[in-house]
Homo-oligomer: 505 residues x 2
């Protein structure tokens, strides 16, 4: 395993309307947010800037039973170009792949690639099972066929995949003594933090960016997510907030009149005529939520091509229409900032696999039960409560599977998560941008001397993991600089301990 | 859940020759020790001295997948008689059931029952899946039918069972704030230590007695176990050691002559004529190993009715025969101390399910791959090497399953187990008696201030967990006293922290 092959990437995959998948599913008054990104099938793969080899590793489908199941091929990306090797016990940076194509995460996690050389570190991006090319049963079609084939799509299995993979890679490279540092964003950040908790022997520390590890059961109020989304709009403009808040009733009213759905279809430039008001509402809700997540200070096209501070732009649009403009016109113009910033989309396709068997939808119906609600006082969204029963009914209907709402807290710690981490853990950074609606379910205060929270007021969803740009504000540079210092500290401590041990011997 | 019903136990199950199951299986020159006890089917249940309610809890068969599998009923024993309840945040003592009927472990773990009242503690003994009454698929016959039905018999599933059970019991009793202390002996001790590592939020500490957590891969030399067994005999008498060492060749020579097997059958009072020399050798080897494990200072009948310091008695017998006595006569007389101390057995049945699908045999062929070997210099046993290939072949033949020899070290930590514990763990007692051959695979030195080793020179296999007796030597009283102090310390620290938190609030 020498330097990576100089494989040149020149493919530019253009994406249109990939976010039209229904990601927030209305469930008779209760909803669950279906996905962090809803990006499992269609990915914004820009020309990758980073060099790596693509390799494959045979994994057990069920690490925790001996059922006679077919193994599957897990893809991972690896770069050893800057690695200083086993003789220096040089570090290994492992990104815990989350719910999507690993090349897309690799392309959007510049921080890891950029800091690796200064640490002399190897970089590995393993793909999460059931995403990208890492499909059990040979193909996505087979893997997603039914609840039986999907049943091994769980976080614990993914963690075991990473543990087995890194152990085997280290063995093959005689790199057993090389310390592993974990990275992850969003669900990947949860995996990184959980891996530190569950496999302390595998890594020496984890940077868990925007990881809502507390977004389960009653650990945080279920209104948290939508309240933070709403705050993002309220902060920009009260009238913008009010227009959005008002819009749901308007949409409902129009939807109920004769020809109302046709009218909404036309107003919002939907390709195929709306079958329900809910599909439109969900489409709008998703956009607001994603806007809050990617409310980055400069223009990006992680999810969509967007201007910097996109909520500000949306609200500017909503507010700037002349006095006579209707609520719906304002909403359409605003939302177009998100769905059509390039101006190239003629009409929007809402029915792109709305209840499709996309991986996160399965995970959200099994383990990842994150209660969501919206209350009248803090939210600009329609009021709704979290209803476990209707959630269960919907999951039984969609996937023939019964959710286990208390499993994640049992497996990884619920109310005792932080105290267990404090007593038992070390070397985790929980980084969050407070604009990010997922930050409300993460760890925002230091848990101990070595389990620290790095928050930025103006940051959004794992902004710190993105590549450096010329527009990076000072507070982002500071955050990344703190992260580098902390990681350096973990490594120094690790090497000091090893020296002490070998001196003792 | 009030005080336990005054269910009176008066059944005395008499056991004869239950240890004749082949537990050390010869594998073309390599062997693995099949079981800690080989007691999964036939148990020495004395009249239980302890009161408890017997309850059942529905468990998922696979916690880590969503495969549509039948749930099963896990048995657990519970006593709340001395529990001071949620209002006092009174502790819960949880024994991690191991590979056998839980009533048998409850009857032989007097320490937990005896100290519970002084802590105002609840006592729970959950049964390990696939043992006793806790059978998936409705019956032992169905559960042990084949590799598919057995496939969920793993340590990780058992740990998840305990985590789910205790979380649910605490919820039902509004006892979420009550700290849990784990106990376990032998494989149960491994489970207790691993549970502390993997589920730090579930318990505040663990007493892991005689837990060979390092008996995997190359963490300790494979000769360790049989060397310690041999030391036990050498220590008593060099001539006894030499007679046993000499005996294997004698047995082989006699076995090879015409009518030799019949002669051996007669000499050793075997009920049915021997089919091979190996079956006799295995039977003898098992006895020596078990003698080392239960080399307790006073008479017990945990495994068999035995005198105190039984190895001393065996060697006395072997050495005391008149000068003309043959090696085989000496061995027979010696071994009879173990297999027939009461003198009531007329003949021995070696073929009692020699390759039966007993639970531990499955575990030893899947995850619990503990390499064993015997070398000429330190061992009184025939020389043999650990051969992973022949082990794998045998497991494929016996169970149609392929062992995963590197899985336990990947899942729970291999060479990094102790350093991970040191950095990440707290509050574990590894107690060991150095006469116990399993002690060589356990933790015999303090790992940190709170992860401590308590060893006794003259102790055997989890002697500390047994009920107090009038004959307990001082060093045993000291060991138990240290354990009580340490547990008290964990609880005090836990309550102090809680007080500090509530004062802060």
């Amino acid at each position: 395993m020498s330097t990576p092959s100089p494989f040149l990437y020149s493919i530019l995959i253009l994406i249109v309307s990939f976010l039209c998948q229904a990601s927030a599913i209305q469930l008779n008054g209760a909803r669950y947010l279906g996905n962090f990104w809803s990006l499992s099938t269609t990915l914004s793969l820009r020309a990758p800037k980073y060099q790596y080899e693509t390799k494959y590793f045979q994994q057990k489908l069920d690490h925790f039973s001996f059922a006679d199941l077919p193994s599957f091929s897990q893809r991972y990306l690896i770069n050893t170009q800057h690695w200083e090797g086993p003789s220096h016990s040089a570090p290994i940076f492992l990104y815990c792949g989350n719910e999507g194509d690993i090349e897309w995460f690799a392309a959007n996690t510049g921080f890891v690639w950029e800091i690796a050389p200064r640490f002399g570190a190897m970089v590995i991006f393993p793909e999460h099972r059931y995403y990208g090319e890492s499909m059990p049963y040979g193909s996505k079609e087979e893997a997603y066929k039914n609840a039986t084939t999907l049943s091994y799509l769980t976080a614990e299995q993914a963690l075991a995949d990473y543990a087995v993979l890194i152990t085997e890679i280290k063995r093959n490279l005689s790199a057993q003594a090389c310390p592993v540092v974990l990275f992850g964003g969003s669900y990947g950040g949860m995996l990184a933090a959980w891996m530190r908790l569950k496999y302390p022997h595998i890594s020496i520390g984890a940077l868990a960016s925007s990881a809502p590890v507390l977004q389960f059961e009653d650990l945080v109020p279920p209104e948290t997510f939508y309240s933070i989304v709403s705050d993002g709009f309220r902060r920009e403009s009260m009238s913008c907030f009010n227009t959005i808040k008002e819009s749901w009733d308007v949409i409902n009213k129009v939807g109920q009149i004769n020809g109302g759905l046709a009218q909404l279809t036309k107003t919002f430039h939907i390709c195929r005529e709306l079958e329900s008001v809910e599909s439109l509402s969900n489409w709008l809700e998703s956009a607001y939520s994603y806007l809050a997540m990617v409310n980055y200070p400069y223009s990006t096209d992680f999810l969509m091509p967007l201007p910097g501070s996109p909520i500000k732009e949306v609200c500017r649009k909503i507010d700037s229409l002349p006095d006579g403009a209707s609520v719906l016109q304002r909403i359409f113009e605003g939302i177009s900032i998100y769905y059509n910033y390039t101006g190239k989309v003629d009409c929007f396709d809402l029915n792109d696999d709305p209840h499709g068997m996309s991986g996160w939808d399965w995970q959200a119906c099994t383990e990842m039960i994150m209660p969501m609600a919206s209350n009248r006082t803090t939210s600009m969204f329609p009021e709704f409560y979290y209803d476990p029963k209707s959630n269960e009914e919907q999951c039984l209907k969609d996937f023939h599977v019964k959710p286990r709402p208390t499993w994640i807290t049992t497996e990884f710690g619920g109310h005792a998560f932080k105290s267990a981490l404090k007593a038992f853990g070390s070397n985790i950074i929980f980084s969050n941008g407070l604009l990010d609606p997922w930050s409300g379910g993460s760890v925002l205060e230091d848990v101990s001397e070595t389990i620290v929270a790095l928050t930025t007021k103006k940051g959004a969803h794992h902004l710190d993991l993105r590549a450096a740009t010329a527009e990076d504000p000072d507070w982002l540079l500071d955050q990344r600089s703190s992260e580098i210092k902390l990681i350096r500290g973990w490594l120094d401590e690790h090497y000091d301990k090893k020296k002490a041990i070998s001196a003792y011997r």
